[in-house]
């Protein structure tokens, strides 16, 4: 990123605006589309999906259940019905394939808010002041599970912004708006990527779930990287990029293996050198013949 330019400027110049925003747009379509499916029922009486992200029924046939909530419930002593087990199993298998935090990038409604806050933060050039360790979220995750065990109720769900916000959107707006505003202000002015990148236990759970997921982002053409740093700038979890992008010397493969990568594809968008692409976990060879022979930029 040159001084005075926004991240992704070069990509827009070399690839055109649409290509430089392809994954971002697809993601917004996915996030809003899923929300829209939930709202079709209450707003227009078209019941394709019922329920909420906690548990839903699609076309009165396909059950989907949030495994994180199911886990909390099991710990607090609940005994779910078979349908909840099936619903959770489908979700687990899905995210095992596509990457746990694909939930964050492609489904979670909070993501739009925190992305917007991060954008504002970048624009204003704020340095975040409150710094948490990125592992805080795993502590909080453990805490929420412990609370369920100790209180015998889904204690975290009393305050969980992720589910509160979705419920508020789908079941009618209540005071959960305040949570949205609070999250936005926190991420924009207190700690950049503070919520999703450091605190959210839902994201932490899904990152654990996707630890061995098949779909991964790969810095296949890392030899072409011109160190513009745009990908680091837009990435919600920038620490995950370095080992793959700069790891050639130490023999690391080009795959981004950290489960905290959200598979958002934003790095693919903003890279004017087309370094990144979506790949599978099984393709992590350090010398990609195909690329070396034909694609390396002159």
């Amino acid at each position: 990123m040159r001084a005075g330019q926004y991240a992704g400027h070069d990509a827009v110049v070399s690839k055109g605006w649409w290509a430089a925003h392809k994954w971002l747009l697809l993601r917004r379509v996915s996030q809003l589309g899923i929300l829209g499916l939930f709202l079709l029922g209450p707003w227009f009486g078209v019941w394709i999906v019922e329920g909420s992200l906690a548990s839903s029924l699609t076309l009165e046939w396909l059950p989907l259940t949030d495994p994180y909530l199911l886990l909390q419930m099991l710990l607090s002593g609940g005994r779910p019905m078979q349908v909840a087990w099936i619903g959770a199993a489908i979700v687990v298998v899905f995210y095992l394939l596509v990457g746990g935090r694909a939930y964050c990038a492609w489904v979670c409604p909070v993501n739009i808010i925190t992305d917007a806050a991060a954008w504002l933060n970048r624009r204003l050039g704020f340095k975040s002041t409150a710094n948490f360790s990125r592992s805080t979220r795993y502590w909080i995750l453990a805490l929420t599970l412990l609370l369920a065990l100790l209180t015998g109720s889904l204690a975290w769900e009393l305050v969980n912004p992720v589910s509160s916000v979705y419920r508020a959107l789908v079941f009618g707006i209540g005071s959960a708006w305040l949570l949205l505003v609070a999250l936005f202000l926190f991420d924009a002015f207190v700690s950049r990527r503070g919520w999703c990148g450091h605190l959210c236990p839902v994201g932490a759970f899904y990152s654990l779930l996707g630890k061995a997921s098949v779909v991964r982002i790969s810095a296949v053409a890392r030899a072409r990287c011109n160190d513009c740093m745009d990908c680091f700038e837009v990435c919600p979890e920038p620490q995950v990029i370095r080992p793959a992008l700069k790891g050639e010397a130490s023999g690391a493969g080009p795959l981004i293996l950290s489960p905290n990568c959200t598979n958002c594809g934003r790095c693919i968008d903003v890279c004017s050198k087309d370094v990144f692409r979506i790949d599978t976990r099984f393709n992590n060879s350090t010398n990609n013949q195909f690329l070396h022979k034909t694609e390396v930029a002159p």
Binding site: G78, R79, M81, F132, L150, T151, G152, F171, S175
Partner: protein
Amino acid sequence: MAGSEVKAVSRRRFLGEVTRTACGVALLGLGVGLYARSAASLPAEAIRPPGALDEEKFLGACIRCGLCVRDCPFDTLRLAELGEQVANGSPYFIAREIPCEMCPDIPCVKACPTGALDHELTNIDDARMGLAVVVDQENCIAFQGLRCEVCFNICPVRGKAITLELRHNLRSGKHALFIPEVHADACTGCGKCEKACILEEAAIKVLPLHLARGKLGKHYRLGWEEKRQAGGSLVAPDREHQYNLPEGMRYDYEGRGLIIDEAAPASPYADDPLETLKRGQEGL
């Protein structure tokens, strides 16, 4: 040497960071835990859907998905919002606003994926969402001797959950009172009576069972019940009860109670006040 120093510093830094995070998270946990305790007490007007487990178990089982809300055809159920007194996201209804219509197929229970609404409940008449209680006998107009019976008539288990008990109207002396009486063995707690009560503020209200019900001490036995269970009196032979009544009095077991014999003077006072004073002193 320098290397191990760097190591020691970074280890100290690491430990410091871990401690800080752990403390912060523990504080957060304390806060949420305390909030969970206060949020576990349900306000009396919030009624859980049919088949809901005991409140404590319910809060551990319901994942707040809202499927029950979606499948309720009468929009009875709603999910609690943040900041309400009911645990965030859990389903409830307020009888005075929209009561439960007691659907025979109980779609709300069927929709629940977690069993927080017990799928064993297949006959809606067995639901015990709460118990209706005539809480204000001074404003219920039936107690004034006026005919109302609205709650009685609207009740989905009509004639069983609420009955009308005839009582003598002492005020007019010649009319009857038709007093609504609720029977816990049939009342489902649907709240239709509370909704229908003609008063500005309902005189009959559905309360959660733990508020509505009294409880007899464990040691307490009802003689007639014991007799029925045992198939005969437990005190054999069943001796006739003896009362030590004042002279000139009898006791009628069949209902009239204490009777003062005609023969006895109508008034304990003699015509002559001096005689009254002298009474009981004959022996002196």
